[in-house]
């Protein structure tokens, strides 16, 4: 799969999962971007092992999380805790990763997907310094942007 095709696949899967999980609609923006300087983002990552191994990273605008979490849990935005926002973001990344890998490697491929964990901005920047992502996309949502990076472990 070419880099362009990988970006398109990541964009398609991420958009579909957001819509299905939380009825949130996104607009593909660009594949040419860097992590924003603002602190108003949360970063989560999930590692996987299989025919190829690596990690998928998601950096999401804090302002998008109340709508995501409320929609997934079926509660009011005012009833949501910070921990629930984090859990909702991790589960969304888990679902995106689980649906992305077979589209890249085929339906017969078996992957073990680890539990999603939080990541600091410093860790993300360090990763981007040493590793070129296989794919990356930025999606625009009503309340802010979501950025994905797919890394392959060497």
């Amino acid at each position: 799969m070419t880099a362009g095709a990988l970006n398109a696949t990541l964009m398609e899967v991420a958009s579909e999962m957001l819509e299905s999980l939380a009825f949130m609609f996104s607009t593909p923006d660009t594949t040419d971007f860097d992590p924003p300087e603002s602190d108003a983002f949360r970063i989560v990552t999930v590692e996987f092992d299989g025919p190829f191994s690596g990690a998928l990273v998601l950096m999401a605008a804090e302002e998008t999380l109340p709508e995501l979490t409320a929609s997934m849990l079926g509660v009011e935005e005012t009833e949501i805790s910070s921990e629930q926002k984090e859990d909702a973001l991790k589960e969304t990344l888990n679902v995106v990763c689980g649906n992305l890998l077979p589209r890249i490697a085929g339906k017969e491929a078996v992957f073990d997907i680890a539990r999603p964990i939080s990541m600091s901005r410093i860790e993300l920047e360090a990763l981007l310094q040493v590793r070129q992502p296989m794919a990356k996309v930025l999606l625009d949502l009503d309340a802010g942007s979501w950025m994905f990076w797919l890394f392959q472990r060497s």
């Binding site: 999962m17 299905s20 999980l21 979490t69 997934m72 849990l73 079926g74 629930q84 859990d87 909702a88 991790k90 589960e91 888990n94 679902v95 990763c97 689980g98 649906n99 890998l101 077979p102 589209r103 339906k107 017969e108 491929a109 078996v110 992957f111 073990d112 997907i113 680890a114 539990r115």
Partner: protein, 128 residues
Amino acid sequence: MGMNILIVDDSSVMRQMIIKALNMSGLPLGEIHQAGNGKEALELLDRHWVDLLILDINMPVMNGEEMMIEMKKNPAFGDIPVVVVSTEGSATRIERMKAMGALFVHKPFTPEIIRDTIRSLLITGDEP
């Protein structure tokens, strides 16, 4: 009398989403139990009567496939109907779970898919 259901998923948000779907399903519900991995779930099965298991695959400590293998070794748990709800995309692994008698629902799911799968499992044992 309602069904007692055990939901096994390491994500508390996903367990809540499944409970929301069950509440919308119109199925007769009894007690809903929750566990974060297969090992916790087996311990819960020792203490509670469960009519249906809703099971994720990728979990820490003991994953869903390992849990089903353990359940099949125990005559008390071996016949409990299982619906696997997972992001799993590997046809190979899905077939292994189906061979042990589970039905499969892919994440993300709709409440209707959960309802129809449980109904079909309880009535015929076949997929909807």
